[in-house]
């Protein structure tokens, strides 16, 4: 960005190229990344364009932006089809997130602060689940859920999501709790605080960031899960989560392409909104540098 460099390369390249071109060539990493990001967004932009089209406009020009825009028709039509499943997804993601944070942090706290018989063994046994691929347990888990009478209920989603999400939660939060100086807890105990208050009023408030990361991972994972809800909710329409609804909806609405695309956009919006508020946390969590093998 320095002006000295600007003068230098202007001499080298002569005055044939307009200033704007010279700027982008000189800052070529910026240009390349911008192009990449635009390309990465192409599918979403397409969806946005096509969602504006009537059937006739789509037949005439499927890919460009056409006027007039029919958003006022496609979005309400899509919303009528997906609104229930959006609500279901919000419930599933929120409740399972709260469950994971609550039980996961409690367990992590116990692992971090106390010594008891078999502690290390139990901890390793829990962590070993990180190595077991979801596909291995897919079928038998379905059998278990069926036998417990949870088939086609929301519990079939919530309970396994809460159980599985805790593995990562316990791992990440234990590491964090260990790093809190024990003096904090000791002085609170001397002042007569119960162990639960130590957890609730000291450990949890300090672990806001790591809890945020756990929460985002859980929401992303549950919101995007396609197969488990597809299996366990089956044909029960009023319990569809958003991926299942889109999958079914896609096959039913094949002809109304604008509405279909509007549905895709509506399905993405809650996560985009969540991201708008947590992007800082998320990006910082990823770029803090702690993630490596």
């Amino acid at each position: 960005m320095s002006t000295v460099q600007a003068g230098g390369s202007a001499l080298v390249e002569g005055r044939r190229w307009p200033r704007i071109v010279r700027y982008w060539v000189r800052h070529w990493p910026v240009s390349v990344i911008l192009v990449l990001i635009v390309l990465m967004m192409v599918p979403m932009l397409l969806a946005l364009f096509i969602a504006a089209k009537s059937r006739a406009q789509f037949d005439f020009n499927p890919w460009g932006l056409t006027f007039p825009l029919y958003y006022h028709q496609t979005f309400p039509a899509a919303w009528r089809v997906v609104s229930q499943s959006i609500l279901n997804s919000v419930i599933v993601s929120t409740v399972s997130c709260i469950g994971v944070l609550f039980f996961g942090s409690l367990s992590a706290y116990v692992f971090a602060r106390f010594d008891f018989l078999g502690k290390d063994t139990v901890f390793v046994i829990i962590l070993s689940l990180l190595m077991i691929p979801a596909i291995l347990t897919l079928v038998p888990r379905f059998v278990v859920v069926h036998k417990l009478g949870l088939f086609q209920t929301m519990w079939a989603l919530l309970l396994p999501y809460i159980a599985a999400g805790q593995v990562m939660a316990v791992f990440l939060m234990r590491t964090f709790f260990v790093s809190i100086p024990s003096e904090y807890f000791e002085s609170a105990r001397i002042d007569g605080a119960s162990e639960f208050r130590c957890f609730w009023n000291i450990a949890l408030p300090l672990s806001k960031h790591i809890a945020g990361v756990v929460a985002i991972l859980q929401v992303l994972g549950t919101w995007n899960d396609i197969f488990w809800p597809y299996l366990t909710i089956g044909t029960k329409k009023e319990l569809f989560t958003i991926p299942v609804a889109l999958l079914i909806f896609n096959d039913q609405l094949g002809q109304q392409i604008g509405t279909q695309m509007a549905g895709y956009i509506i399905a993405s919006l809650p996560l985009v909104l969540l991201f708008a508020f947590t992007s800082r946390l998320f990006v910082e969590g990823l770029t803090a540098g702690g993630l490596k093998l």
């Binding site: 990465m40 106390f114 077991i132 079928v139 396609i226 197969f227 399905a267």
Partner: protein
């Protein structure tokens, strides 16, 4: 024990929904068990059958091999290149927005991305064919996901420009943690940018690259959602992958024992490949 009381909900949930199913999967892989019928112990017959009689399974191995090789590349090399590009940007403001821009596509639900790509590949109204026609390559147009010889490649290379934002940020984090003095002194010594990347950056961010690699192995060996949404394994099973074949065996053909055996195979493959890659790359680094 009060400690165990606190751990109980966690342990109980994992026991019911994770350990017990994992145990069942391994256990059933030694049985022939069709839903509704009694299970019979068959030893390792299921595994033998996979490799000797099941042509679809063998086909699925080839497909998952193609996909895994590509995803391993896509998860390590491309993020490194993009992270180096972002690292080379001097302006902090651009850097900040680039990091956001990398993540934004990653939060679009997978199902939406898969369905959009199915649409891009569409034979009659797809963007890809429209684009090829527009640049005068009309002879290249085809029904991308409908041609058994092409479909697996179309599937594998969907997601252009193949930039994995999360992996890029993980790699970028490694680059930013490199001590600035090391980089400066290499510049003073007259090292070119490429030399610096090869000699300094790559060894120093190897932990991050390895993390991306292992995550790629774990995800790609058990891949099946993208295949299910885009082709359902077709046409004529040409895009079948083991994960989806497991699903079909379990829920369409009701061969639970055989499906479990495929699951065990996937599990063991992931385990071995992960261990192997950790070992190989540890030695290379030294």
């Amino acid at each position: 024990m009060p400690y165990y009381a606190v751990l109980l909900p966690t342990l109980l949930g994992l026991l019911v929904f994770d350990y017990y199913p994992a145990f069942l999967a391994v256990y059933h892989s030694f049985f022939e068990w069709d839903i509704g019928l009694p299970a019979t112990w068959v030893g390792i017959d299921n595994f033998v059958r996979m490799f000797t009689q099941d042509r679809t399974f063998l086909r699925s191995l080839r497909n998952v091999g193609i996909i895994t090789v590509w995803i391993m590349f896509q998860a390590t090399v491309i993020p490194l290149v993009v992270a180096e590009l972002i690292f080379a940007v001097k302006s902090m403001r651009w850097k900040y927005w680039f990091r956001i821009g990398m993540i934004l596509p990653a939060i679009i639900p997978g199902i939406v991305v898969f369905l959009l790509w199915r649409f891009i590949y569409d034979g009659s109204v797809g963007l890809l064919n429209a684009f090829l026609t527009a640049i005068g390559l009309e002879s290249w147009t085809r029904v991308w996901l409908g041609d058994p010889r092409i479909a697996i490649w179309a599937l594998t290379f969907s997601g252009f420009p193949w930039v994995n934002g999360v992996n890029t940020l993980i790699t970028l984090a490694g680059l930013q943690n490199i001590n600035g003095e090391i980089l400066e002194s290499s510049e003073l010594d007259g090292a070119s940018r490429l030399q610096r990347i090869w000699r300094l950056d790559i060894p120093l961010v190897f932990g991050q690259i390895k993390l991306n690699l292992v995550r790629a192995i774990i995800a790609s060996i058990q891949i099946f959602e993208v295949v299910f949404v885009m082709t359902e394994g077709g046409p004529i099973k040409s895009t079948m992958v083991p994960g989806l074949w497991l699903y079909y065996n379990a829920f369409n053909y009701h061969r639970m024992g055989y499906a479990s055996a495929i699951g065990v195979f996937i599990f063991v493959t992931i385990l071995l490949l992960t261990l192997a890659s950790m070992r190989i790359f540890r030695e290379e680094r030294a």
